[in-house]
Symmetry: C2
Subunit: 333 residues, 2 copies
DNA sequence: ACCTCACATTACATCGTTGTAAAACGGGAC
DNA sequence: GTCCCGTTTTACAACGATGTAATGTGAGGT
């Protein structure tokens, strides 16, 4: 049987509350008593019961992190940083996967209300369905990434500007027929819409006529789906001279297809991505991408969340994280 | 204020325990009462408080998953499957990162004892230090991967056999000077030791004289460290005709270095990995590897853990997961 | 009508911790 | 020696859900 405050108290010859005071350190405890208690804690190998503490305090010290799919390098890197930053601050992270399913995104909200969780960091994929539900009486929530509405605190990168800059960077290397991979046909993915918008804005600035046949749709943003989409695209379309993939994962799938077809990157076609996942550096050729500080995303998300939990509310706050274009071999001229 | 059983009970005109009975479904409840209660639950938007339930039941429904580093594709894939399988069975997963630090591995054990966690799935990196601590009075633990001692339930792949098979497969494509990347110089990493052993066994079978200059050490198993290790190796050693990397991540780093040096894979040197991470498929060239069912690893780990939590104990159990060599372009002859 | 028995429901206590308010303690001033 | 005051410690209750044991309800048999 595990030791409780009571056991420790008995052994130290004090009351349970005194033990609690020693543990929490808010109420002053005299040196001699503190020693006795600490001694007893060691002897009994006492570990406080967090369920009881959570019940009493109304806080569990656990934050949920909900991502579409942990196996995605981007999600994994975000999760890594969130876990690390949270741990530094004494929080635990409970991971949930939404599989991009709005229903699941909503379900998590209710779960968050079951008090095992003090707050939720959610990386939504679909815009409206999931967002609409963010109604009243929900726990503190911070959204990661692109979301259409202002429904909760949010940390994001300005996708429109980044996509525009990347398109301009590709043009600067002499490319004119710039295709994008990852546009959405359904109403999915706010990021797809925004990145497409940035791309189009750049074309306009450049005085390049937009050509819809250069928009390669791809609903799911995985290497596999990207490879498939690009592959069938190339079967019936001429090769563009640049390919801007809306995520690095897709770019990696694309590189694989191009290589299999013997199409040289960057000589015949330049390839760029978005997210700066670690693998992009080691891709063959190394991948040009939109980079931003993922650790900062994590720490800002956590900051917003803890501030809101502490009730220092204020309206919906938005943190915009800087990005920069990192040019590597895949777009060399 | 959130509704409690009491509120629901009052509204439904029954006692709190009846509400509890409706929720849990073990004690029979008459149809009419059940309806009244369910109605009240909906009206009040009642969500049970898991801290309280956890305190009362002694179980939280949360399992901790401790991995060296979530940002590693291998860890991320494992985490993905564990989260998914666990969710199907109604468990939540709390993620912890050990950073390969034995102290942290131990710390997690204590944390697991704080009752917010019913069990722990731990992927240890260091063998003895962390393992020794798995003493008495600890929560149910399942270890993932190679561990030297038999201290807890365990799910693993037979690294020795797999490394041997991979080495033989490389030899079958005509390679003779087969180097391995990832051997350990310190006492770290059981996997390094075992995989090296399998490699050496194969050489012996093949009648190839072992050549220690073909053992390329690399303490941390990341693309970056692998790239660095291989790079400096090539500066002062002749090119082997095959390179067996102890993880796919390292292989990806290696491919990048070889490409940058203009060394052709697989023509000049074959490259193989271990783990079959998703990115290996899209590597350029696609990566030959040791593949195994990670979802099975996850589900078996969870099975062992839940069985042990249910006290169907028995001695230390070991589940060995099958593997197979997947030959892709990086080792074509 | 009465008793039994099975089943549905209830009151109460409990899980371990901590806030509140009151009690005990010790030291200094008179 | 007494009184007062600030500090440390204590008893008690409460957080919300649920197991236990006891109570209440009805149907069926005699």
């Amino acid at each position: 049987m595990r030791a409780t405050v009571k056991d420790v108290a008995r052994r130290a010859g004090v009351s349970p509350k005194t033990v609690s005071n020693v543990m929490n350190g808010v109420v002053p405890v005299s040196g001699s008593t503190r020693l006795k208690v600490e001694q007893a804690i060691l002897e009994l190998d006492y570990v406080p019961n967090l369920s009881a503490r959570g019940l009493r305090n109304g806080r569990s010290g656990v934050i949920a992190l909900a991502l579409p799919d942990l196996a995605t390098p981007y999600s994994a890197e975000i999760a890594h940083h969130v876990v690390e930053v949270a741990h530094e601050q004494g929080w635990s992270i409970q991971i949930e996967e939404t599989g991009s399913d709005p229903a699941r995104e909503y379900e998590l909200m209710s779960r968050a209300r079951s008090n095992l969780i003090d707050g939720l960091i959610l990386n939504p994929v679909v815009l409206d369905e999931s967002a609409v539900k963010v109604g009243v009486s929900l726990p503190p929530v911070v959204l990661l990434g692109e979301v259409s509405q202002q429904l909760a605190d949010r940390v994001w990168v300005d996708s429109v500007a980044a996509a525009r800059d990347m398109t301009l960077a590709l043009a600067r290397t002499g490319r004119r027929r710039i295709a994008v991979l990852g546009t959405a046909e359904g109403r999915h993915s706010a990021a797809a819409v925004l990145r497409t918008r940035g791309y189009q804005a750049a074309l306009e600035e450049l005085g390049i006529d937009p050509d819809d046949s250069l928009l390669i749709p791809c609903e799911k943003w995985t290497p596999q789906t990207a490879a498939d989409a690009l592959s069938s695209y190339l079967d019936s379309n001429p090769l563009p001279d640049a390919l801007f993939c809306f995520t690095d994962s897709m770019a990696i799938g694309a590189l694989s297809v191009l290589w299999k077809r013997g199409i040289k990157v960057p000589e015949e076609v330049a390839v760029a991505g978005f997210d700066d996942i670690a693998d992009g550096q080691y891709a063959v050729p190394s991948l040009t991408t939109v980079s931003f500080d993922k650790r900062l995303v994590a720490s800002e998300a956590l900051r917003l969340l803890t501030e809101r939990m502490a009730d220092r509310a204020g309206g919906q706050r938005v943190v915009t994280v800087d990005y920069r274009i990192v040019e590597r071999n895949s777009t060399a001229s």
